[in-house]
Protein backbone atom coordinates (compact mmCIF):
# COMPACT_ATOMS: atom_id res chain seq x y z
CA UNK A 1 0.00 0.00 0.00
CA UNK A 2 1.03 3.60 -0.44
CA UNK A 3 1.99 5.30 2.81
CA UNK A 4 3.68 8.70 2.86
CA UNK A 5 7.00 9.00 4.74
CA UNK A 6 7.67 12.23 6.61
CA UNK A 7 11.22 12.82 5.36
CA UNK A 8 10.16 12.33 1.74
CA UNK A 9 7.21 14.68 2.14
CA UNK A 10 9.43 17.37 3.63
CA UNK A 11 11.96 16.86 0.81
CA UNK A 12 9.22 17.56 -1.70
CA UNK A 13 8.19 20.72 0.10
CA UNK A 14 5.15 19.38 1.95
CA UNK A 15 4.49 19.38 5.69
CA UNK A 16 1.93 16.72 6.62
CA UNK A 17 -0.57 17.84 9.24
CA UNK A 18 -0.66 14.55 11.08
CA UNK A 19 1.98 12.05 12.10
CA UNK A 20 0.84 8.44 12.31
CA UNK A 21 3.06 6.94 15.03
CA UNK A 22 3.08 3.23 14.22
CA UNK A 23 4.91 1.86 17.26
CA UNK A 24 7.06 -1.28 17.52
CA UNK A 25 4.20 -3.78 17.71
CA UNK A 26 2.40 -2.12 14.82
CA UNK A 27 5.62 -2.13 12.78
CA UNK A 28 6.96 -5.62 13.45
CA UNK A 29 4.38 -7.94 15.00
CA UNK A 30 2.67 -9.82 12.15
CA UNK A 31 -0.78 -9.66 13.70
CA UNK A 32 -0.42 -6.00 14.66
CA UNK A 33 0.81 -5.12 11.15
CA UNK A 34 -2.68 -5.97 9.92
CA UNK A 35 -4.11 -3.43 12.36
CA UNK A 36 -1.61 -0.86 11.13
CA UNK A 37 -2.60 -1.52 7.52
CA UNK A 38 -6.29 -1.28 8.39
CA UNK A 39 -5.79 2.07 10.08
CA UNK A 40 -3.58 3.40 7.27
CA UNK A 41 -6.18 2.29 4.73
CA UNK A 42 -8.77 4.41 6.53
CA UNK A 43 -6.44 7.44 6.47
CA UNK A 44 -5.80 6.84 2.77
CA UNK A 45 -9.48 6.48 1.89
CA UNK A 46 -10.31 9.74 3.64
CA UNK A 47 -7.32 11.41 1.97
CA UNK A 48 -5.99 12.60 5.29
CA UNK A 49 -2.81 14.65 5.12
CA UNK A 50 -0.55 12.34 7.14
CA UNK A 51 2.79 10.59 7.09
CA UNK A 52 4.79 8.06 9.11
CA UNK A 53 8.39 8.44 10.30
CA UNK A 54 9.36 5.08 8.81
CA UNK A 55 12.96 4.18 9.70
CA UNK A 56 13.27 7.30 11.82
CA UNK A 57 10.73 6.04 14.35
CA UNK A 58 12.13 4.29 17.44
CA UNK A 59 10.68 2.57 20.49
CA UNK A 60 9.20 5.22 22.80
CA UNK A 61 11.01 3.55 25.71
CA UNK A 62 7.81 2.51 27.47
CA UNK A 63 8.69 -1.16 28.09
CA UNK A 64 12.14 -0.15 29.38
CA UNK A 65 10.64 2.36 31.79
CA UNK A 66 8.00 -0.04 33.18
CA UNK A 67 10.69 -2.66 33.70
CA UNK A 68 12.69 -0.11 35.68
CA UNK A 69 15.27 0.93 33.11
CA UNK A 70 14.92 4.68 33.48
CA UNK A 71 18.21 5.38 31.72
CA UNK A 72 17.14 3.59 28.56
CA UNK A 73 13.74 5.28 28.61
CA UNK A 74 15.35 8.73 28.69
CA UNK A 75 17.76 7.78 25.94
CA UNK A 76 14.92 6.70 23.63
CA UNK A 77 12.76 9.67 24.57
CA UNK A 78 15.49 12.19 23.74
CA UNK A 79 16.20 10.59 20.37
CA UNK A 80 12.54 10.54 19.41
CA UNK A 81 11.91 14.07 20.62
CA UNK A 82 14.82 15.28 18.52
CA UNK A 83 13.26 13.80 15.39
CA UNK A 84 9.74 14.99 16.24
CA UNK A 85 10.83 18.52 17.10
CA UNK A 86 13.15 18.58 14.09
CA UNK A 87 10.16 18.13 11.81
CA UNK A 88 8.07 20.57 13.84
CA UNK A 89 5.42 17.90 14.40
CA UNK A 90 2.27 19.21 16.06
CA UNK A 91 -0.24 16.38 15.97
CA UNK A 92 0.29 12.63 16.42
CA UNK A 93 -2.14 9.74 16.12
CA UNK A 94 -1.25 6.22 17.23
CA UNK A 95 -3.04 2.89 17.52
CA UNK A 96 -0.96 1.83 20.55
CA UNK A 97 -2.11 2.94 24.02
CA UNK A 98 1.41 2.52 25.41
CA UNK A 99 2.94 4.80 22.79
CA UNK A 100 -0.03 7.14 23.26
CA UNK A 101 0.47 7.38 27.01
CA UNK A 102 4.22 7.89 26.74
CA UNK A 103 4.07 10.49 23.97
CA UNK A 104 1.20 12.35 25.57
CA UNK A 105 2.07 12.23 29.27
CA UNK A 106 5.76 11.49 29.59
CA UNK A 107 7.47 13.32 26.73
CA UNK A 108 6.37 16.86 27.66
CA UNK A 109 8.66 17.04 30.70
CA UNK A 110 11.55 16.00 28.47
CA UNK A 111 10.85 18.72 25.95
CA UNK A 112 8.44 17.01 23.58
CA UNK A 113 4.96 18.54 23.60
CA UNK A 114 2.47 17.54 20.93
CA UNK A 115 -1.23 17.04 20.49
CA UNK A 116 -1.44 13.28 20.85
CA UNK A 117 -4.57 11.36 20.04
CA UNK A 118 -5.33 7.66 20.23
CA UNK A 119 -6.93 6.07 17.19
CA UNK A 120 -10.05 5.22 19.22
CA UNK A 121 -10.75 8.93 19.77
CA UNK A 122 -9.62 9.80 16.26
CA UNK A 123 -11.95 7.26 14.65
CA UNK A 124 -14.81 8.44 16.84
CA UNK A 125 -14.19 12.03 15.68
CA UNK A 126 -14.16 11.00 12.03
CA UNK A 127 -17.43 9.12 12.53
CA UNK A 128 -19.01 12.03 14.41
CA UNK A 129 -17.96 14.45 11.68
CA UNK A 130 -19.62 12.20 9.13
CA UNK A 131 -16.36 11.60 7.29
CA UNK A 132 -16.45 7.86 7.92
CA UNK A 133 -19.71 6.40 6.71
CA UNK A 134 -20.67 2.86 7.58
CA UNK A 135 -22.27 0.44 5.14
CA UNK A 136 -25.91 -0.40 5.79
CA UNK A 137 -26.10 -3.90 7.26
CA UNK A 138 -22.30 -4.22 7.42
CA UNK A 139 -20.48 -7.41 8.43
CA UNK A 140 -20.78 -6.66 12.12
CA UNK A 141 -24.26 -5.18 12.23
CA UNK A 142 -26.34 -7.01 14.82
CA UNK A 143 -23.34 -9.12 15.93
CA UNK A 144 -22.55 -9.43 19.61
CA UNK A 145 -19.28 -7.65 20.31
CA UNK A 146 -17.55 -7.21 23.65
CA UNK A 147 -14.89 -4.57 24.22
CA UNK A 148 -11.78 -5.23 26.27
CA UNK A 149 -10.45 -2.03 27.90
CA UNK A 150 -6.73 -1.40 27.60
CA UNK A 151 -5.28 -0.24 30.96
CA UNK A 152 -3.21 2.52 29.38
CA UNK A 153 -6.16 3.86 27.40
CA UNK A 154 -8.74 3.41 30.18
CA UNK A 155 -7.43 3.83 33.70
CA UNK A 156 -4.31 5.74 32.66
CA UNK A 157 -6.08 8.15 30.32
CA UNK A 158 -9.79 7.88 31.07
CA UNK A 159 -10.76 6.91 27.54
CA UNK A 160 -13.69 4.52 27.89
CA UNK A 161 -16.40 5.96 25.68
CA UNK A 162 -14.61 6.60 22.38
CA UNK A 163 -13.97 2.95 21.46
CA UNK A 164 -17.51 2.04 22.52
CA UNK A 165 -18.98 4.81 20.37
CA UNK A 166 -17.01 3.43 17.42
CA UNK A 167 -18.49 -0.02 18.01
CA UNK A 168 -21.99 1.42 18.28
CA UNK A 169 -21.50 3.04 14.89
CA UNK A 170 -21.09 -0.47 13.46
CA UNK A 171 -24.61 -1.14 14.61
CA UNK A 172 -23.23 -4.02 16.65
CA UNK A 173 -24.77 -5.27 19.92
CA UNK A 174 -22.21 -4.23 22.51
CA UNK A 175 -22.14 -6.59 25.50
CA UNK A 176 -20.04 -5.70 28.53
CA UNK A 177 -17.92 -8.05 30.60
CA UNK A 178 -18.46 -8.06 34.34
CA UNK A 179 -15.22 -6.22 34.90
CA UNK A 180 -15.21 -3.33 32.46
CA UNK A 181 -14.22 0.32 32.08
CA UNK A 182 -12.41 1.48 35.23
CA UNK A 183 -12.89 -2.01 36.72
CA UNK A 184 -11.60 -3.76 33.63
CA UNK A 185 -9.10 -6.57 34.13
CA UNK A 186 -5.70 -6.18 32.52
CA UNK A 187 -4.82 -8.54 29.63
CA UNK A 188 -1.54 -9.35 31.37
CA UNK A 189 0.87 -7.72 28.89
CA UNK A 190 1.54 -4.34 30.51
CA UNK A 191 4.47 -3.42 32.69
CA UNK A 192 6.86 -5.17 30.26
CA UNK A 193 5.23 -8.54 31.09
CA UNK A 194 4.86 -8.96 27.32
CA UNK A 195 8.62 -9.44 27.19
CA UNK A 196 9.01 -12.10 29.87
CA UNK A 197 7.39 -15.22 31.26
CA UNK A 198 4.56 -14.60 33.69
CA UNK A 199 5.48 -15.18 37.36
CA UNK A 200 4.25 -18.38 39.03
CA UNK A 201 0.53 -18.44 39.73
CA UNK A 202 -2.64 -20.52 39.54
CA UNK A 203 -3.57 -19.32 36.05
CA UNK A 204 -2.42 -16.85 33.43
CA UNK A 205 -3.98 -13.40 33.42
CA UNK A 206 -4.90 -13.51 29.71
CA UNK A 207 -6.65 -16.86 30.17
CA UNK A 208 -8.72 -15.49 33.05
CA UNK A 209 -9.59 -12.39 31.05
CA UNK A 210 -10.46 -14.28 27.87
CA UNK A 211 -12.78 -16.64 29.75
CA UNK A 212 -14.63 -13.58 30.99
CA UNK A 213 -14.89 -12.25 27.43
CA UNK A 214 -16.11 -15.62 26.12
CA UNK A 215 -18.72 -15.71 28.89
CA UNK A 216 -20.50 -12.77 27.28
CA UNK A 217 -21.32 -14.95 24.26
CA UNK A 218 -19.82 -12.36 21.92
CA UNK A 219 -18.44 -13.56 18.60
CA UNK A 220 -16.01 -10.65 18.42
CA UNK A 221 -13.67 -9.43 21.14
CA UNK A 222 -12.78 -5.88 20.19
CA UNK A 223 -9.57 -4.29 21.40
CA UNK A 224 -7.79 -1.00 20.82
CA UNK A 225 -4.26 -2.12 21.71
CA UNK A 226 -1.92 -4.44 19.80
CA UNK A 227 -0.68 -6.04 23.03
CA UNK A 228 -4.19 -6.71 24.35
CA UNK A 229 -4.96 -8.19 20.93
CA UNK A 230 -2.07 -10.66 21.24
CA UNK A 231 -3.01 -11.67 24.77
CA UNK A 232 -6.71 -12.14 23.99
CA UNK A 233 -5.93 -14.01 20.76
CA UNK A 234 -3.74 -16.44 22.72
CA UNK A 235 -6.50 -16.80 25.30
CA UNK A 236 -9.09 -17.62 22.63
CA UNK A 237 -6.72 -20.25 21.17
CA UNK A 238 -6.22 -21.69 24.61
CA UNK A 239 -10.00 -22.21 24.85
CA UNK A 240 -10.08 -23.71 21.32
CA UNK A 241 -12.54 -21.06 20.25
CA UNK A 242 -10.63 -19.55 17.34
CA UNK A 243 -13.23 -20.88 14.86
CA UNK A 244 -16.11 -19.08 16.57
CA UNK A 245 -14.58 -16.01 18.16
CA UNK A 246 -12.42 -13.34 16.51
CA UNK A 247 -10.22 -10.80 18.27
CA UNK A 248 -10.23 -7.62 16.19
CA UNK A 249 -8.97 -4.10 16.61
CA UNK A 250 -11.50 -1.28 16.28
CA UNK A 251 -9.56 -0.03 13.23
CA UNK A 252 -10.06 -3.40 11.52
CA UNK A 253 -13.77 -3.35 12.37
CA UNK A 254 -14.15 0.14 10.94
CA UNK A 255 -12.04 -0.56 7.83
CA UNK A 256 -14.23 -3.59 7.06
CA UNK A 257 -17.47 -1.68 7.57
CA UNK A 258 -16.77 1.63 5.81
CA UNK A 259 -18.70 2.50 2.73
CA UNK A 260 -16.28 5.23 1.57
CA UNK A 261 -14.41 4.20 -1.57
Amino acid sequence: MNVPIFSEQIASGKTPELLFWVGCAGSFDQRAQKITRAFASILNKLEIDYAILGKEEMCTGDPARRAGNEFMFQMMAYQNIQVLNGYGIKKIVTACPHCFNTLKNEYPELGGTYEVIHHASYLQQLIDEGRIKMKEGGDFSGRKITYHDSCYLGRANDIYEAPRKVLEALDAALVEMKRCKSNGLCCGAGGAQMFKEEEKGTTRINIDRTLEALDTGASVIASACPFCNTMMTDGVKNSNKEEEVQVLDIAELVAASMENE
Binding site: M1, T36, R66, A67, C151, R155, N183, G191, K196, G201
Partner: protein
Protein backbone atom coordinates in the same frame (compact mmCIF):
# COMPACT_ATOMS: atom_id res chain seq x y z
CA UNK B 1 23.07 9.66 41.68
CA UNK B 2 20.81 6.97 43.03
CA UNK B 3 17.90 5.50 41.11
CA UNK B 4 14.70 4.09 42.50
CA UNK B 5 14.08 2.85 46.03
CA UNK B 6 15.81 0.13 47.98
CA UNK B 7 14.61 1.39 51.30
CA UNK B 8 12.02 3.72 52.76
CA UNK B 9 14.51 6.62 52.74
CA UNK B 10 14.32 6.61 48.94
CA UNK B 11 10.53 6.77 48.74
CA UNK B 12 8.50 9.96 48.26
CA UNK B 13 6.64 11.57 51.16
CA UNK B 14 3.42 10.61 49.42
CA UNK B 15 4.40 6.92 49.48
CA UNK B 16 5.38 7.11 53.16
CA UNK B 17 2.10 8.79 54.08
CA UNK B 18 0.29 6.19 51.97
CA UNK B 19 1.87 3.44 54.06
CA UNK B 20 0.51 5.02 57.24
CA UNK B 21 -2.95 5.74 55.89
CA UNK B 22 -3.63 2.27 54.45
CA UNK B 23 -6.58 0.71 56.25
CA UNK B 24 -5.69 -2.78 54.99
CA UNK B 25 -9.14 -3.10 53.45
CA UNK B 26 -7.72 -5.22 50.63
CA UNK B 27 -9.74 -3.73 47.80
CA UNK B 28 -6.56 -3.15 45.82
CA UNK B 29 -5.59 -6.81 45.96
CA UNK B 30 -9.08 -7.94 44.94
CA UNK B 31 -8.74 -5.78 41.81
CA UNK B 32 -5.14 -6.80 41.12
CA UNK B 33 -4.82 -9.11 38.08
CA UNK B 34 -1.60 -10.63 39.43
CA UNK B 35 -3.08 -11.33 42.85
CA UNK B 36 -6.30 -12.70 41.36
CA UNK B 37 -4.37 -15.22 39.27
CA UNK B 38 -2.36 -16.59 42.17
CA UNK B 39 0.84 -14.56 41.84
CA UNK B 40 2.73 -13.68 45.01
CA UNK B 41 2.10 -9.97 44.49
CA UNK B 42 -0.48 -8.27 46.71
CA UNK B 43 -0.62 -4.47 46.60
CA UNK B 44 -2.11 -4.51 50.12
CA UNK B 45 0.96 -6.38 51.35
CA UNK B 46 3.23 -3.85 49.59
CA UNK B 47 1.66 -1.13 51.75
CA UNK B 48 1.82 -3.18 54.96
CA UNK B 49 5.45 -4.14 54.33
CA UNK B 50 6.36 -0.52 53.69
CA UNK B 51 4.78 0.48 56.99
CA UNK B 52 6.50 -2.35 58.86
CA UNK B 53 9.84 -1.22 57.51
CA UNK B 54 9.05 2.42 58.34
CA UNK B 55 8.22 1.47 61.89
CA UNK B 56 11.42 -0.56 62.25
CA UNK B 57 13.44 2.40 60.95
CA UNK B 58 11.58 4.72 63.35
CA UNK B 59 12.41 2.52 66.34
CA UNK B 60 16.00 2.24 65.22
CA UNK B 61 16.34 6.04 65.06
CA UNK B 62 14.70 6.46 68.46
CA UNK B 63 17.03 3.93 70.07
CA UNK B 64 20.25 5.17 68.46
CA UNK B 65 19.65 8.89 68.02
CA UNK B 66 20.22 8.37 64.30
CA UNK B 67 19.66 5.52 61.87
CA UNK B 68 22.10 2.69 62.46
CA UNK B 69 22.49 0.23 59.60
CA UNK B 70 20.54 -2.89 60.49
CA UNK B 71 21.50 -4.80 57.37
CA UNK B 72 17.93 -4.69 56.17
CA UNK B 73 15.90 -2.69 53.66
CA UNK B 74 12.54 -2.83 51.88
CA UNK B 75 13.72 -5.87 49.96
CA UNK B 76 13.89 -7.76 53.25
CA UNK B 77 10.08 -7.54 53.22
CA UNK B 78 9.16 -7.40 49.54
CA UNK B 79 10.57 -10.06 47.22
CA UNK B 80 11.77 -9.61 43.67
CA UNK B 81 9.15 -12.13 42.53
CA UNK B 82 6.38 -9.90 43.89
CA UNK B 83 7.78 -6.85 42.12
CA UNK B 84 8.18 -8.73 38.85
CA UNK B 85 4.52 -9.80 38.77
CA UNK B 86 3.07 -6.30 38.40
CA UNK B 87 1.53 -5.37 35.02
CA UNK B 88 1.39 -1.66 36.02
CA UNK B 89 -2.33 -1.83 35.22
CA UNK B 90 -3.23 0.85 37.77
CA UNK B 91 -6.23 -1.13 39.09
CA UNK B 92 -4.97 -0.95 42.70
CA UNK B 93 -4.65 2.83 42.49
CA UNK B 94 -8.10 3.22 40.93
CA UNK B 95 -9.69 0.94 43.52
CA UNK B 96 -8.20 2.36 46.73
CA UNK B 97 -10.79 4.40 48.65
CA UNK B 98 -8.09 6.65 50.13
CA UNK B 99 -6.10 7.29 46.93
CA UNK B 100 -3.05 5.24 47.82
CA UNK B 101 -0.64 4.17 45.09
CA UNK B 102 1.00 0.80 45.71
CA UNK B 103 2.18 1.06 42.08
CA UNK B 104 4.49 4.01 42.82
CA UNK B 105 6.37 1.92 45.37
CA UNK B 106 6.55 -1.08 43.03
CA UNK B 107 7.95 1.05 40.18
CA UNK B 108 10.53 2.75 42.41
CA UNK B 109 11.69 -0.63 43.66
CA UNK B 110 11.87 -2.05 40.14
CA UNK B 111 13.98 0.94 39.17
CA UNK B 112 16.48 0.21 41.95
CA UNK B 113 16.68 -3.46 40.94
CA UNK B 114 17.58 -2.58 37.35
CA UNK B 115 19.56 0.63 37.75
CA UNK B 116 21.49 -0.16 40.94
CA UNK B 117 21.78 -3.94 40.85
CA UNK B 118 21.35 -4.83 37.15
CA UNK B 119 18.92 -7.39 38.47
CA UNK B 120 16.65 -8.28 35.53
CA UNK B 121 15.29 -11.53 34.14
CA UNK B 122 17.21 -12.73 31.06
CA UNK B 123 14.31 -11.88 28.77
CA UNK B 124 14.29 -8.28 29.95
CA UNK B 125 18.03 -7.98 29.34
CA UNK B 126 17.36 -9.22 25.82
CA UNK B 127 14.59 -6.66 25.43
CA UNK B 128 16.91 -3.87 26.64
CA UNK B 129 19.63 -4.80 24.21
CA UNK B 130 17.13 -5.01 21.35
CA UNK B 131 15.90 -1.50 22.15
CA UNK B 132 19.47 -0.26 22.32
CA UNK B 133 20.61 -1.89 19.08
CA UNK B 134 17.46 -2.21 16.97
CA UNK B 135 15.34 0.56 18.51
CA UNK B 136 12.55 -1.96 19.13
CA UNK B 137 12.03 -4.46 21.95
CA UNK B 138 12.26 -7.35 19.47
CA UNK B 139 15.12 -8.53 17.33
CA UNK B 140 14.13 -6.91 14.04
CA UNK B 141 16.25 -4.68 11.87
CA UNK B 142 15.35 -0.99 12.09
CA UNK B 143 15.75 -0.99 8.31
CA UNK B 144 12.56 -3.06 8.07
CA UNK B 145 10.46 -0.81 10.26
CA UNK B 146 8.15 0.30 7.46
CA UNK B 147 7.94 -3.10 5.77
CA UNK B 148 4.35 -3.51 6.94
CA UNK B 149 3.32 -1.33 3.99
CA UNK B 150 4.34 -4.19 1.67
CA UNK B 151 1.87 -6.66 3.22
Amino acid sequence: MKFGAKDVFDLSWKSLLDAYSCTECGRCSTACPANQTGKLLSPRKIMMDTRDRLEAVGKNIKANGEFKDDGKNLLSHITVEELRACTTCNACVEECPVSISPLDIILEMRRALIMEDSNAPQEWNGMFSNIENNFAPWKFSPEDRADWVKG
